[in-house]
């Protein structure tokens, strides 16, 4: 079992070194997606048995179905984002916006970024998980500030400052968790998640409560909970589009994973405490994002707010806290991760062709770039929760979970806010598709521009239409490992 993890880690190191070593611009843009495809394959090999319920337990490494779900999503979205980078960054390199050196730096950082995110989910100690989440911020800061424009520098600055503050607050929470284990767990293993879960009911409850507040606020800053979200729209709109997709679809999940592990422990010790905080942040984020989606004028900022909205929905699922709702939240997270990159990538195509992110200045996409327009329309319908896409299934099961636990008010509020989101997204996106395109708008084609969108659309459709039995079992297993209670 452990051989698989070691092979994966070795592959990460080797492919990072390879991407740094390859100097040729064209070569590196092909080598890097190939490397991330290899990582995806190795990750599948590792994760499929784990998803079935087998636990990897070996030294520093420890994985259960929950970590496997997160890891698989990173590997999958990482691969499509690298493939799309080949088209997106390739065009900018041809136009001279990105120099040969910057091109090399981009691909090296991208593979390191994906590897660090994947590694975060493989470790046993929550202290190392914290370190992984911190490291993802450091690596991705350079990707957010990749263009040397003033606005990108500003976005990267806000990103690193706010996320560093969040990470610091979360570490203080971890210290308190450690303090609450004194006398219960041997100090060398005090922050190991399995040990924490095993002794959850013996921890100091007062200490744990304060720790939970700090951890949810700290990691929540990086998840993008309102009102700590202010870095998120800036970073997502200023980063290159493949990176925006990656940030939105999987980076936010990494911080959510940090919260979830402690959420599980806290719910055993003190049922209803952590989940109430999650519920409050969930509704705050959903409500604020609904408002900002309606009023936004910048295409990528609107998509960023839609990520905040989805993180809010996921938090509401954990806030309800029944096994059904937790599974629904994980399903919603999976659906968001495979759907959101469709929007960021097709937005990337539009932005490169029109040279603006201002939605009022983009018209006639369906005539100038038919495939992108179709992807944008499909992506929009999918993300606002139209059937038959996966987000619909996620949101529906979330409502069912809420009804199940008698929280009709939550259902009513969520539906009302989702209706606002639906109206806002539709009002902003669909006018861009119709009308007369300006003369300078050109269609952008190519395998690496089309293939990622096709793969993602197939994935979101497949998840929505034929929720394979194995997949729902996997999600169920992951949900059970959040609470540590296996049916």
């Amino acid at each position: 079992m452990n051989a698989d993890i070691l092979v994966l880690v070795a592959a990460m190191v080797a492919s990072s070194l390879l991407c740094i070593a390859v100097r040729n611009r064209k070569a590196v843009s092909t080598v890097m997606p190939a490397c991330s495809l290899l990582l995806l394959a190795l990750c599948l090999n590792l994760c499929v048995p784990v998803l079935g319920g087998e636990v990897v337990d070996d030294g520093v490494f420890w994985m259960d179905p929950l970590s496997a779900v997160f890891m698989l999503l990173v590997a999958f979205v990482g691969f499509v984002a690298s493939l799309y980078s080949r088209a997106y960054i390739g065009l900018e390199a041809e136009e001279g916006v990105v120099s040969r050196r910057e091109n090399g730096v981009y691909y090296s950082l991208l593979i390191v970024f994906i590897s660090v995110m994947m590694l975060t989910f493989t470790v046993r100690s929550m202290a190392v998980v914290w370190l992984g989440i911190g490291a993802t911020t450091l690596v991705s800061t350079f990707l957010v500030g990749f263009y040397s424009r003033d606005e990108s520098t500003e976005a990267a600055w806000k990103y690193i400052i706010l996320c560093s503050v969040g990470i610091t607050i979360a570490l203080f929470g971890l210290t308190l968790v450690y303090a609450s284990t004194v006398g219960v767990i041997d100090s060398d293993h005090a922050l190991d998640w399995p040990a924490l879960m095993e002794h959850a009911s013996e921890l100091d409850p007062n200490m744990m409560r304060m720790a939970m507040v700090l951890i949810i606020v700290g990691f929540g800053t990086k998840v993008g909970f309102f009102p700590m979200h202010t870095w998120l729209p800036d970073a997502h709109s200023q980063a290159p589009s493949p990176i925006s997709g990656l940030l939105s679809a999987v980076l936010l999940n990494c911080a959510m994973y940090g919260i979830l592990r402690f959420y599980g422990v806290s719910e055993v010790l003190d049922p209803g405490f952590a989940s109430t905080i999650m519920l409050v942040f969930g509704f705050l984020s959903l409500g604020a994002a609904a408002f900002f989606i309606i009023t936004s004028r910048d295409l990528k900022r609107m998509l960023a707010y839609s990520s905040i909205e989805n993180m809010g929905l996921i938090a509401i699922g954990f806030g309800i806290g029944t096994p059904v709702a937790i599974a629904a939240a994980l399903l919603q997270m999976t659906a968001h991760s495979v759907t959101k990159p469709i929007l960021f990538f097709s937005a990337g195509n539009v932005i490169q062709s029109y040279g603006t992110r201002e939605m009022s200045r983009i018209r006639g996409v369906s005539r100038s770039m038919p495939f992108t327009a179709a992807a944008l329309a499909v992506g929009t319908l999918a993300i606002v929760g139209c059937p038959p896409f996966s987000v619909f299934v996620g949101e529906l099961s979330l409502m069912l979970g809420a009804l199940d636990s008698g929280m009709a008010w939550a259902v009513a509020l969520t539906v009302a806010l989702l209706a606002i989101v639906f109206a806002g997204m539709a009002r902003n996106v669909f006018p861009m598709l119709s009308g007369e395109p300006p003369e300078y708008a050109r269609d952008l084609r190519g395998f690496s521009r089309t293939a990622p969108l096709v793969i993602l659309i197939v994935a979101t459709l497949a998840l929505g239409l034929f929720m394979a039995e194995s997949v729902s079992d996997w999600i169920g297993n992951a949900a059970s490992s959040v609470t540590g209670v296996f049916p």
Partner: protein, 219 residues
């Protein structure tokens, strides 16, 4: 008797750290601010030394040494170097005045003691005030980050928050397993390097590291 002296010394160091934080809030010039930060780090190192000596946990000595090297010597030098290189204005740019900031930090200390009260009632005497004080230092650091407009003052606010965090970590848990401490220092170090680079770039774009110029990204 020995126990009592060390407990008092631990408390003294913690209070001195809090005092430097409050003084930092009241400082209007950049250089004294950096000096105050390194002074606070000296007290943190002293605190670590006393706890290491009394608890006999040798890995806290490493933390003490790391603090002395990184936070007392390297980081202040680096901040001064950045300041010299980009000709930053010598004055701290405030968005609320000194009296307001001091009042707010007083309030933060009050809030910290209020929050920490239910936790510290069950604790040993040594750790009692340290939790509340470390929380105060973190909150005051946050306040500095929110009310000071320069990139460098934001950085110092973050570093002071980290100092508060380490005070808490040493006093509360007698130092978490060593890996965390080294990891945390590593993280801070890399963060400062990145912040240095960005301070440079922000300077290039705006001719000043005043982050109030960072107001281009809006709805």
């Amino acid at each position: 008797m020995d126990q009592l002296i060390s407990a008092n010394l631990v408390d003294l160091c913690a209070v001195l750290m809090l005092l430097t934080s409050v003084m930092a809030v009241a400082t209007t010039r950049m250089k004294p601010l950096i000096t105050l930060f390194s002074l606070q780090s000296v007290f943190l190192a002293a605190e670590a030394f006393i706890v290491a000596y009394t608890s006999g946990e040798s890995h806290i000595y490493i933390m003490c040494a790391l603090t002395l090297v990184l936070k007392v010597v390297v980081m202040p030098r680096m901040l001064l170097y950045i300041m010299g290189k980009i000709h930053v204005d010598k004055e701290v740019d405030l968005s609320i005045g000194i009296p307001g900031s001091l009042l707010a930090s007083g309030f933060m200390i009050f809030v910290s003691y209020y929050i920490a009260e239910p936790l510290i009632s069950t604790m040993e005497t040594v750790e009692r005030s340290c939790l509340a004080i470390s929380l105060s230092i973190i909150l005051i650091g946050l306040l500095m980050m929110c009310t000071r407009r320069k990139a460098i003052t934001e950085t110092i606010g973050l570093l002071m928050m980290e100092n508060g965090l380490f005070l808490g970590a040493i006093a509360l848990s007698h130092g978490m397993p060593l890996i965390v401490e080294i990891a945390a220092f590593f993280d801070v170090m890399v963060a400062v390097i990145i912040i240095g680079i960005f301070a440079n770039r922000i300077n290039k774009s705006f001719n000043s590291v005043d982050t109030s110029f960072l107001r281009r990204l809006k709805e």
